[in-house]
């Protein structure tokens, strides 16, 4: 009797949890692809495929963590992909052209990306420029700087920069047992950031300013400073994504992350962080990203035309957003009553 009650209590709180719903969606998706591919005579439910899916998450996961934190705090950074690509070029130039050691290249890339994030934050908190405009402008500036740096010592022509470095190669493609190093680093980042958001005073403040910046400010929380930290963090994590991309390719590519401008935000929204800010967690972002990539890889595995896959991905995002708006409208109604 007592036991079933406890069971009921935990179960119902689990069912009401967004992450649980998302995870169910993931399971259903895997089921559908398994049956679908079985009908086509191939198999989907394999270790290699899941390792591929996780491996495909690595680069975008850093974007998603940065975007997720920002979105919980009520802001959006559109410049992530451009800043990340810029960071990749810095690393490649440092190692490939200027002969710096790998760790110095990484430090330089992250520091410069952080500076760009600080500029974003300055524009938004000090000059009150809407994040949309500030980070859009930063996208253009970061791209320009990237071309500029890649053209130095190359007769003024922008080009990809190749480099050879054992340490970077290991970071990009190394394995620990059967598991790629990238996946382990990604999971570590998710855990650390997840704990920061869920358990620390800083994480709570992020949620407060996202939920109601005015009320948080009037309770003595320094919203400007937190927004600053979040934008710098988003830019530095974008830099990490750029570094991974470069390390994997052995090349600082001008096209790096080009298709990922909205991936971080998409994953964060799919993962249950509401556009209104204030709620959500890193577990949701992880599952959101997992769904996104499983969907794309699964569709590819069963032979759907990749152009259609992109259309369906858009539709998936639309469904997630609609669900978010419906629940928000409902809670607004509850507040008004």
């Amino acid at each position: 009797m007592e036991k079933t009650n406890i069971y009921k209590k935990y179960f119902s709180s689990l069912v009401h949890h967004k992450v649980f719903t998302l995870f169910l969606l993931f399971i259903v998706m895997v089921g559908v692809f398994t049956i679908w591919s079985a009908l086509r005579g191939s198999s989907f439910l394999r270790f290699a495929i899941f390792r591929n899916i996780l491996n495909s998450l690595v680069v975008t996961s850093f974007l998603a963590i940065g975007a997720g934190f920002l979105l919980v705090g009520g802001n959006i950074d559109l410049s992530q992909a451009a800043v990340g690509a810029f960071g990749g070029i810095i690393l490649a130039a440092a190692v490939g052209k200027w002969g710096l050691p790998w760790y110095a290249g990484i430090m330089a890339a992250l520091a410069l990306c952080g500076c760009l994030g600080a500029i974003n934050a300055l524009l938004i908190t000090k000059f009150r420029i809407p994040f949309f405009i500030a980070t859009l402008a930063m996208t253009l500036m970061a791209q320009g700087l990237m071309y500029l740096i890649s053209s130095i010592g190359n007769n003024g022509i922008a080009a990809n920069i190749n480099f050879q470095d054992a340490a970077l190669k290991y970071i990009g493609t190394g394995m620990i047992g059967p598991i790629p190093l990238g996946i382990i680093i990604m999971l570590l980042f998710f855990i650390v950031y997840g704990v920061i958001l869920a358990k620390t005073g800083f994480g709570m403040k992020v949620k407060f300013i996202g939920g109601n910046a005015i009320a948080a400010g009037l309770a003595g929380i320094n919203a400007a400073m937190i927004t600053y930290i979040l934008f710098v963090n988003s830019a530095v994590l974008s830099g990490v994504a750029g570094i991974f991309t470069a390390a994997r390719l052995g090349q600082g590519s001008l096209m790096a992350l080009q298709t990922n401008q909205f991936t971080g935000i998409t994953a964060a929204v799919l993962g249950g962080i509401s556009f209104g800010g204030g709620t959500g967690g890193m577990a949701g972002v992880f599952v959101g990203l997992l769904i996104l990539n499983t969907f794309q890889i699964g569709m590819g595995a069963v032979g759907v035309n990749p152009f259609w896959v992109q259309v369906f991905t858009g539709a998936l995002l639309l469904v997630a957003l609609t669900a978010d708006f419906v629940t928000q409208a409902r809670s607004r109604k509850a507040q008004a009553a």
Partner: protein
């Protein structure tokens, strides 16, 4: 035919508040009818009902003798009723002429909109009123007064027979008020029904023919402007039975040293405000909306920049650059708008209580959950907050309980609050809970907290405060002790024309 607008037994309730109770009167064409009453008397609700913004629960509106029903603002506009609100409803980056004719722009044969014809039509209307406005000018570039004129012309262009003004002179200078009054007299001469809501009694005697006095949602008096006096009008607005709500409060009788002293405080909105609050004293800040009460609170809480003067807390001059600074010096603020400024509505009761002192609840960087629970449960117990769990979102709590969450936050033992500023703490709260909150405020005083109590409800300020400071136009217009304060005295200080 004589144009008329008649209200018959109009009633309207909001949760916990009876906003209008069986209000009946008739406004006639060719006359200006003034609607007066204290804050919360029901004037705005009445305007909202006649503009179709809200629906009355009871009663009916008769336009020229025929019952009408306005399900939305569009229906009211179509019937010829225009309400001109304080916040102008114009499109600032469009021209004057486009704002005057927003929904029936003249067109050419090709269906494109005819700028020349529009210009001529707008010019005609502007000339009717004899105003020096260029129809092609961008509305946003006009000064506030002319923007208001454009709004009036917009109503006129729609052939509105009923035109109501909500505090139209609040943002205007004396010269501009003259222009507005000329315009109103023109509307009156054309036989239109003019309804005029204002706090400024002198104006009412200047422009109005009939006066309707509302109080607590009821019509208490119908007066003719020519047959009454300011004194009679104020008596009608005020005279109410206060009952024993205040008599039974257990008050603090002994005051300590001066805890908060403000000397010549000047900000963008305030001009040389000075006063003192002692330990255990409740000082009321009275005054009309926009008189500078909230601005005092904002300056004391580090929100608005202080440009001159001194703030002295517990004998030491302090510089407050942010709410964080203010909190460090023991100042707390319950803001005017609970939902927008006080609470994070989608978050739990727990989160909302601990907001200002999360850092003090952290072990290293992690929030200490069990300590948090203890602190929050304390507040729930102390204020008898009705909630099934501290994890409930505050959006699900009643207004009174939400206010208690904010009070619980600032008086938690985690903060050493010495000065508590309460801005409209009983706004939108039902009578029973109001009583509880009054006692709570008295209890703060008993604990030695210096309380600054801001309220638009005069009986509240007068009966709860040990002394009352009346604000007017960003200055202190006067101060009164509880013994000498009457609503008449406070009102006349609050309403006296700025010199």
């Amino acid at each position: 035919m004589l144009k008329t607008l008649e209200f018959r037994k109009i009633g309207k309730s909001y949760p916990g508040v009876r906003a209008l109770d069986s209000v009946s009167f008739k406004a006639e064409g060719g006359k200006v009818l003034a609607l007066v009453g204290e804050n919360g008397a029901g004037k705005s609700t009445l305007l909202k009902i006649m503009s179709g913004d809200q629906k009355a629960d009871e009663g009916e509106i008769l336009l020229n003798g025929k019952p009408v029903d306005f399900p939305d603002p569009r229906a009211a506009i179509a019937a010829g009723v225009a309400v001109i609100y304080q916040d102008r409803q114009l499109i600032p980056n469009m021209s004057v002429m486009e704002n005057i004719f927003p929904d029936n722009l003249p067109r050419t044969r090709l269906g494109l909109f005819d700028k020349n014809k529009l210009y001529t039509k707008a010019k005609e209307i502007i000339n009717t009123f004899g105003l020096p406005i260029d129809p092609a000018e961008q509305v946003g570039r006009l000064n506030v007064a002319y923007q208001q004129m454009v709004e009036i012309m917009k109503a006129y262009a729609r052939n509105a027979d009923i035109i109501a003004f909500d505090e139209p002179t609040a943002p205007l200078t004396d010269a501009e008020i003259e222009i507005l009054f000329d315009l109103i007299l023109k509307l009156k001469a054309e036989g239109k029904v003019v309804i005029y809501v204002s706090h400024r009694l002198a104006e009412i005697f200047k422009i109005a023919d009939d006066i309707v006095v509302l109080k607590d949602g009821r019509l208490v008096k119908l007066l003719k402007a020519g047959e009454t006096s300011e004194a009679e009008l104020i008596r009608a607005m005020v005279g109410r039975d206060i009952g024993d709500t205040y008599a039974n409060l257990s008050r603090n009788e002994s005051f300590g040293k001066v805890m908060l002293e403000v000397k010549n405080l000047t900000t963008q909105y305030l001009r040389g405000v000075s006063f003192r609050v002692r330990e255990g004293e409740i000082v009321g800040l009275a005054g009309l909306v926009g008189s500078g009460r909230t601005e005092v609170a904002r300056a004391l809480f580090g929100v608005d920049a202080v440009t001159g003067g001194e703030i002295i807390v517990n004998g030491r001059p302090v510089v407050l650059k942010s709410p964080g600074d203010a909190i460090k010096h023991g100042i707390a603020l319950c803001p005017e708008d609970r939902k927008e400024q006080g609470l994070v509505m989608g978050h739990s009761l727990r989160d909302n209580v601990i907001m200002p002192f999360i850092d003090r609840l952290c072990k290293k960087i992690f929030v200490n959950r069990s300590k948090t629970t203890a602190v929050v449960n304390d507040a729930v117990k102390k204020y008898a907050i009705k909630t099934p769990s501290i994890e409930k979102t505050v959006a699900e709590l009643s207004g009174g309980n939400q206010q208690k969450v904010i009070l619980g936050r600032w008086t938690s033992e985690m903060l050493k609050t010495k000065v508590l500023i309460l801005d409209e703490p009983t706004k939108g709260i039902d009578v029973g809970t109001k009583r509880e909150i009054y006692q709570t405020i008295c209890d703060f005083a008993k604990q030695g907290i210096a309380v600054l109590f801001i309220s638009s409800e005069l009986p509240e300020v007068i009966n709860l405060s040990d002394s009352i400071i009346v604000m007017n136009n960003g200055r202190v217009a006067g101060s009164l002790t509880r013994g000498e304060a009457t609503e008449e005295k406070v009102l006349s200080l609050a309403m006296q024309e700025a010199s």
